[in-house]
């Protein structure tokens, strides 16, 4: 039984094979013509590509490569260390990380005494402001702040705080922190900045202008001397504008806070302003590297110390 089945199968296979051979024979006859046509056509294409088809040749279209332009704050991107490394500074500071090394926890005070009493009453300790104490030397008389020669431009005091920030000086251990996204300036903000910067004034020759790299070098040199009021309450509102009158050698001649009113009534602003003034007087960052031939451009500078992006 098994054998006869195999026999039938064998017959079927044989007849199938025969049919295939027949088909192949007719196919090969018609394919020959196709091969020839195809070969001619290919040869024509190769020839055309080698020789060229003059009547089809047109002037090559001018390729327009799209240029993407992104409006960003240039200071975020430029690396100006090579342009003008700060002179007196041994170690350029990493700005991204706060400078304070995390010291190992230290004892606050050794040997606490076990004797204690209530703090003495206020009446016992009377503070007296020493306006001109008898021992006081008259020499370092507190000079009143120099008046700015020009009236400061009225500027809105309160800055828009940014929700998220980069370059933060505040520590965050959050395991799921997703909020810290860099914020780019919106077009409106860029426009505002540009319009503000191009406010009325004399027109200087292009060659007299400070280049972006020169300005960046200036900023880079001043950065390590500016101690930012990072943990202060609402520090994002503590931007301080200082008018600096420069000497030709790059040292600071005079510096004064533009917003005198706020300096006198807001102690946090006063501390932030003092910190900015100290940055300008710090010997580590003085004299400032500015091109002497462009002195006319930088003999008076208004510097806006703005901590917003670091909080």
């Amino acid at each position: 039984m098994a054998v006869s089945v195999t026999g039938i199968k064998d017959n079927m296979v044989a007849s199938q094979n025969a049919a295939l051979v027949e088909t192949a024979a007719t196919a090969s006859a018609s394919m020959k013509g196709a091969f020839i046509k195809s070969g001619i056509l290919h040869a024509l294409i190769v020839a055309a590509s080698l020789i060229g088809i003059p009547f089809l040749a047109k002037e090559e279209p001018l390729l327009i490569t799209p240029v993407s332009i992104e409006l960003v704050d240039i200071a975020e991107l430029t690396q100006t260390t090579k342009v003008a490394p700060p002179k007196k500074q041994e170690k350029p500071k990493e700005i991204e990380k706060p400078q304070k090394p995390e010291p190992p926890p230290k004892p606050v005070e050794a040997a606490p005494k076990v004797v204690s009493e209530s703090p003495p009453k206020l009446e016992e300790i009377k503070p007296e402001p020493i306006v001109e104490a008898k021992k006081e030397k008259p020499k370092p008389k507190p000079k009143p702040q120099e008046k700015p020669k020009e009236k400061p431009k009225p500027k809105p005091e309160v800055q828009k705080p940014k929700e998220d920030a980069f370059d933060s000086l505040l520590k965050n251990l959050a395991p799921d922190a997703e909020s810290q996204k860099p914020q780019e300036k919106t077009l409106d903000e860029t426009l505002e900045d540009v319009l503000e910067d191009t406010s009325s004034g004399q027109i200087a020759r292009l060659s007299d202008q400070l280049t972006i790299s020169e300005l960046d070098a200036f900023r880079y040199q001043l950065e390590p001397c500016w101690n930012v009021p990072a943990g202060a309450k609402y520090a994002e509102n503590l931007a301080v504008e200082i008018r600096v009158s420069m000497n030709r050698d790059g040292s600071v001649n005079k510096s004064s806070v533009l917003d005198k009113g706020r300096y006198n009534r807001d102690s946090a602003f006063r501390a932030a302003a003092d910190s900015a003034l100290r940055a300008l007087r710090n010997p580590r960052c003085s004299p400032l590297n500015l091109p002497p031939e462009k002195y006319q451009q930088w003999k008076s500078i208004v510097i806006n110390f703005d901590p917003r992006n670091m909080l």
């Binding site: 409006l71 500071k93 700005i95 304070k100 926890p105 230290k106 004892p107 606050v108 005070e109 606490p112 076990v114 204690s116 009493e117 703090p119 003495p120 016992e124 300790i125 009377k126 503070p127 007296e128 020493i130 306006v131 104490a133 021992k135 006081e136 370092p140 000079k143 505040l170 520590k171 965050n172 251990l173 959050a174 395991p175 799921d176 909020s179 077009l187 426009l191 540009v194 319009l195 191009t198 009325s200 004034g201 004399q202 292009l206 202008q209 200036f218 900023r219 950065e223 500016w226 202060a232 946090a268 100290r278 007087r281 008076s300 208004v302 510097i303 806006n304 703005d306 901590p307 992006n309």
Partner: protein
Amino acid sequence: MRVLFALFLIAFLPAVAQAELRVDMTKGVVEPLPIAITPFYVESGNQNFGKDMPSVISVNLENSGLFKPVNPRAFVQTIESLNTAGPNFGEWRASGAQALVTGTVKAAGDGRTRVEFFLYDVFSQQKMLGIAYTTTPKNWRRIAHIISDEIYKRLTGEDSYFDSRIVYVAESGPWNKRIKRLAIMDQDGANHKYLTSGRSLVLTPRFSPTRQQITYMSYESGKPTVYLYDISTGRHEPLGRFPGMTFAPRFSPDGKSVIMSMARNGNTDIYVMPLGSRTPKRITNSSSIDTAPSYSPDGRQIVFESDRGGSQQLYTMDSNGDNVQRITFGKGRYANPVWSPRGDLIAFTRMYKGKFYIGVIRPDGKGERLISNAYHVEGPTWSPNGRVLSYFKERPAGKNRQAKIYTVDITGYNERWLRTPVDGSDPAWSPLNR
């Protein structure tokens, strides 16, 4: 169109630049301010004050993390010369100092001591402060704290915290038979003193913002009950007789009432207890566990923890219980919220994936930052100026198991161990001593 306009303006910016150059500084550093604190010149009276007072000031300022006292070996000018000729600013600048503190001490004649101090800005060569104090000599340490406060205030523009104290739970004995006592000390660890005997367990002490009083939870009566402790007399008493357990107490900002949790019939809600009438008033009324309430400094709002939304999260509400808003949405659990005396932040403990964190968040629920973590870290408390947080950390059970109190700046840096004679937990910072 506006893009084109912006490009146009930028392209032609150099040609239309202003007469005065404007520069935006958007980067800087955070580093301690170098300050020279000279020995005080003692004209008459206790010679030790000349050395001891500047030393206390120096430790205070350095611990804050915002100042770096200059090594006295870098000093060139002598205190005698300072006293007669005034500061030679060139020499002080050369020492690296940006600020300079000098002082004189003399006997006032009536048994009291007069201390004068001056703060100078070395770069601008200007005097920033000059204040004199006259007091009994035994107050020398407090004077040093008050001087530290003045320097801190002038240079940071913020209120200070050195003339303050910390009450905490002092822990001793084996872990299965732990003795927990209330203890108090100056914020720098000096003048340490135990307040309770340790016979009964005490937890969660909190300072009154206005008077020398502490509220805490104790098992003295057998069940958890909120107590009041008067520091000046040493007297303590239960806040009231309650039908249920009371815990997690905190004073209102005016010091006239205590807000706390009470568990009744298996449900925990928040109650306010005026210290005058002693009649508790219920603030929350939900079937969930509402606890750990803390007032905003203006007394208008309360932050608390609740599991009403499923997981344990932080909520704010008006002081009458209206307008409940959830402010945390992170993973894990949030607990122990405490509103900063500055008003701008709320500190909390967060538990996530088996770890504990201390964090801060703005009252509107934005800007969450976690600033310390450990196997177990809990119980944040604010310095009176809202700049420093204190909390305790525990190491896991085992040979090195211990509980220690730490402080950290709210930037998240400068974490320091606050040394106590025995283990410590649950710190609570006092307001300024004045």
